[in-house]
């Protein structure tokens, strides 16, 4: 239109210039012209302001990738505007310059607009795609936001679980655990109500045990076989249940709508579930039920993460409960053990006290009772020696017999206590076994003949004549056994048989642990005492060898005795490494007592420590002392003289010294024995002994050293033994004692003094 107008104007100007004479006949054209004028002006204005606005806003925005395009576009618009502006001057006649400017402007505009048009072909699609990308990014951002939201919720949940677990596990008390669970769950999930149903002891019902907010009637139960409960128990997930199910009816029925309810099972583990090296099995199928209710007025739904939270919590509760159970068990066991400990300690102390009391009592009894007993026995025997009328004699004999019996009883009791202490030691001597049996027979014959019993003794041919053992105690055992046989037989016979036991007869089926092995130096003596007496009830046989027990049958007869005899026999037999037992076929069928003991065989062993107590005539020993050189060291003149006299009386050649130095000066190899008084205060006689040992060596030919002391204590004896003295004798020494000491010394090189 512009061009048309220009054409028009050009034409009109040409017309005007050609015919200036033409009349200005277009006043209406002026108005049009004016409008065109104004329009052009405004167009130019718009054209100029658009780029300005563009530039302004682009400058404002931070990112605009198409600056070059903007410049182009701006140039295009500016030029268009310029053109329109310049048009304002071309309405009328205009100079050639204006025409030139106009032309330049138009040319430029044409150029720029063409280029711009070309460029836009490339740019517009790009611009459009930016928009698409923007949309895409927005969508992505929205998605990320959503995911962020989920993660945050999960983390929240995790935090809640940790906190809950911590709370639950921070206590080992069952009730606290359960209560805390409900409270924390209620808090975390903002629950309306939370309840726990525990199985009853019978296992057929669930009882409402804990609730969070409302006090429910005690003892509210539901049967365990409800379908909804089975459904919940069959899976370890939290299950949404209907609010109308019996387990969810925890509130007094009201008008409101209950919220969503979820239930989950809580396994109850027992100690017995925990096998060693195995994981706990859930096969016991004991579960509790936890019911959670959302607030009714919130229209909330159970979300997945909340359900997960509930499941995790239920598991944690199970673990915590099992820990609590284990702890309870172990505490209970520990308490029990402590109690038992205390009781045992008390019992032990009581037993010790009892033993001590008994020992004290026995010690006192020993001394206090023996003293008068000895007086009675001694004086009675003395009395017997005097002139008495027959009645008096009878009385004295009775006194003597009774007091002997009493003394035996006291000895028995003392023996037993010493046996039990383990302080009894056998006195091992060499003795005549055949003679021993003969003596026993002689002792028992009078009593037996009074009762008209036959007593027979048979000793097998393979029994050695002389044996090594405790003569006294063997006699005691025999007397006791044979005495019992006689005592409990009213008629018939008592037969004693003894033989050396072969290995098969050593085995007693009743005592499989008794092993007897005969060896070169020892043999086992087996003695059998058979009687035809009242026999023994088989039930009583095990108790025979217990202290103080007597069967009814025995107690009725006036059998006398302490009931200790067999117990003591058993102890002695055990000390002799043997075995004793009694067989009986029943009451009235008699009984047989059998014992086996270990005895030594003399002559085969090379033990020189055993003193040989034989009744050799006295002068046999005296001859060996003639001219025996001995040395006596004593600082007390009187006792020195006495000891010298003693030894001289026995035929020794005695030298006496009064001090340690003198002793060391005088002693020579020729002195066979040195008698040393070790009760000299201030002088270390033990040193003298050591020095003598050093001087003369330890073996044959050196002087034997014997200590004389008035002290009976063990310390002195131990000290003497320690320095290697060959004997210790108690002062005052009688002639006989000195004689036996010297003979022992010369025969065995050592004196054993008990």
């Amino acid at each position: 239109m512009g061009s048309l107008l220009r054409m028009n104007r050009l034409l009109s100007s040409i017309v005007d210039s050609c015919n200036c004479i033409i009349d200005p006949q277009l006043p209406a054209d002026d108005l049009l012209m004016k409008y065109q004028y104004i329009s052009d002006f405004f167009i130019a204005l718009a054209y100029f302001s658009i780029p300005v606005e563009l530039i302004y806003f682009v400058k404002k925005s931070a990112v605009f990738p198409y600056r070059w395009v903007l410049v182009q576009f701006g140039a295009f618009i500016v030029l268009c505007g310029a053109t329109h502006l310049i048009n304002l001057w071309t309405f009328n006649m205009h100079t050639r310059n204006v025409a030139i400017v106009m032309t330049t402007a138009k040319v430029l505009t044409a150029l720029v607009s063409c280029i711009t048009a070309l460029m836009l072909v490339h740019i517009i699609p790009d611009l459009l795609s930016v928009k698409t990308r923007e949309l895409f990014l927005k969508k992505k951002a929205a998605q990320l936001d959503r995911e962020m939201g989920i993660i945050r919720t999960q983390e929240e949940t995790g935090r809640h679980v940790r906190m809950l677990t911590h709370e639950i596990r921070s206590t080992l008390d069952r009730h606290t655990i359960l209560k805390t669970t409900l409270v924390e769950l209620g808090r975390t999930l903002a629950l309306e109500e939370c309840a726990l149903w525990m199985p009853t002891r019978t296992g057929v019902e669930l009882q409402l045990s804990y609730t969070l907010r409302h006090q429910n009637p005690v003892g509210l139960t539901v049967p365990i076989q409800l379908p909804v409960i089975n459904q919940v128990f069959s899976t370890n997930r939290a299950v949404q249940i209907s609010p109308n199910s019996p387990v969810a009816k925890l509130r007094p029925t009201g008008k409101y709508m209950p919220g969503e309810v979820v239930a989950v099972r809580v396994p109850l583990l027992h100690l017995s579930n925990f096998q060693i090296n195995d994981w706990p099995e859930l096969s016991t199928k004991r579960y509790a039920l936890m019911v959670l209710m959302l607030p009714s007025d919130s229209a909330r739904q159970w979300h997945v993460h909340e359900l997960e939270l509930v499941e995790v919590v239920a598991d944690q509760v199970a673990v915590a409960l099992s820990h609590a159970a284990i702890l309870e068990e172990s505490m209970r066991a520990r308490d029990l053990l402590m109690e038992q400990n205390v009781a045992l300690d008390l019992a032990r102390r009581e037993a010790e006290m009892a033993v001590r009391a008994r020992n004290d009592f026995l010690a006192v009894m020993n001394h206090e009772m023996r003293t008068p007993m000895h007086a009675i026995i001694a004086l009675s025997s003395l009395l017997q020696e005097t002139d008495l009328t027959p009645e008096q004699r009878l009385m004295v004999e009775t006194i003597l017999k009774s007091s002997n019996l009493l003394a035996t009883l006291i000895n028995d009791v003392l023996d037993l206590s010493r046996l039990e202490d383990g302080s009894l030691q056998l006195d091992i001597v060499t003795f005549n076994l055949h003679a021993l049996f003969g003596e026993v027979l002689n002792l028992i014959k009078p009593v037996a003949s009074v009762k008209k019993l036959f007593v027979t003794l048979s000793l097998s041919a393979d029994l050695p004549e002389y044996v090594i053992g405790d003569e006294q105690r063997l006699m005691q055992i025999l007397l006791n056994i044979v005495g019992n046989a006689v005592k409990f037989s009213k008629e018939g016979s008592v037969s004693i048989s003894a033989f050396a036991a072969k290995s098969d007869s050593l085995r007693d089926p009743r005592a499989p642990e008794f092993f007897a092995v005969a060896s070169e130096n020892h043999f086992y003596l087996r003695v059998q005492v058979k009687d035809t007496g009242i026999g023994i009830n088989p039930q009583d046989i095990p108790n025979l060898f217990s202290k103080f027990t007597q069967s009814q049958a025995l107690a009725s007869t006036n059998s006398g005795g302490t009931g200790l005899g067999l117990a003591i026999c058993k102890r002695f037999v055990n000390l002799m490494e043997g075995h004793i037992w009694i067989e009986s076929e029943g009451l009235g069928k008699g009984s047989t007592a059998i014992f086996i003991i270990k005895l030594g065989i003399p002559g085969r062993s090379n033990e020189s420590k055993l003193p040989f107590v034989a009744k050799l005539p006295a002068n046999h020993m005296q001859m060996t002392f003639q001219g025996l050189k001995v040395l006596v060291m004593d600082d007390n003149g009187v006792s020195r003289m006495v000891t010298k006299g003693l030894l001289a009386h026995l035929g020794c050649d005695v030298t006496t010294v009064g001090s340690r130095d003198e002793c060391l000066r005088v002693v020579t190899q020729e002195h066979k024995v040195v008698f040393m008084d070790v009760s000299m205060p201030g002088i270390d006689c033990y040193e003298v002994a050591v020095l003598i040992h050093e001087r003369f060596g330890k073996r044959h030919g050196r002087p034997l050293i014997v200590a004389l002391t008035g002290n009976t204590d063990r310390v002195t004896k131990e000290n003497c033994m320690r320095v290697g003295m060959d004997g210790v004798i108690l002062k005052p020494v009688s002639v006989d004692k000195m004689r036996s000491v010297l003979s022992e010394l010369l025969e065995h090189g050592v004196v054993l003094e008990s």
């Binding site: 600082d635 007390n636 003149g637 009187v638 006792s639 003289m641 006495v642 006299g645 003693l646 001289a648 009386h649 008084d677 009760s679 205060p681 201030g682 008035g710 002062k731 005052p732 020494v733 009688s734 002639v735």
Partner: protein, 151 residues
């Protein structure tokens, strides 16, 4: 002049009384057993030695206990000697007092020691007299032609 029998009887009674009153115990019998042909006066010799020793010891004891600072160790040593001697010849009562004497020495009680010393002196004098009488009786018997009883 008493007959041998009478003298024997007198000696026996006297000897029994000594034993019964615990002046002597069986150790004295042992001593008498030691007297034989080679040593006939053994008992007299030992007893004389005992008298000498005891006199000396009692003097020492008196001196030691009258010191302002009593040396209990020395006193104890003396008493020990006295105890040994008296037990060697069988002077039972003297020996018994020595035991008590030693206890006081251990506990260092001066009054106790002095008391015991006095007792010991008394007993010693008694037993000395008794033994001397015994020996006189024995000598009388031997002079009268009798023989001493064999123990």
């Amino acid at each position: 002049m008493e007959s041998v029998n009478q003298l024997q009887r007198k000696l026996a009674d006297y000897t029994s009384s000594l034993y019964n009153e615990n002046f002597l115990d069986e150790q004295f019998i042992q001593l008498q057993q030691l007297a034989d042909e080679s040593n006939p006066d053994f008992v007299v010799e030992v007893v004389s030695l005992f008298f000498e020793d005891s006199d000396r010891l009692l003097n020492e004891l008196t001196k030691a206990l009258n010191q302002p600072n009593v040396d209990f160790k020395k006193v104890d040593a003396h008493v020990h000697q006295l105890k040994g001697s008296s037990s060697s010849i069988g002077a039972l009562r003297v020996q018994k007092i020595c035991i008590a004497f030693r206890n006081y020495c251990e506990q260092q009680i001066v009054e106790g020691c002095l008391k015991c010393l006095q007792q010991v002196k008394n007993e010693y004098t008694l037993v000395k007299n008794k033994l001397e009488t015994l020996f006189k009786l024995e000598k009388q018997l031997v002079d009268a032609g009798g023989s001493l009883p064999v123990v």
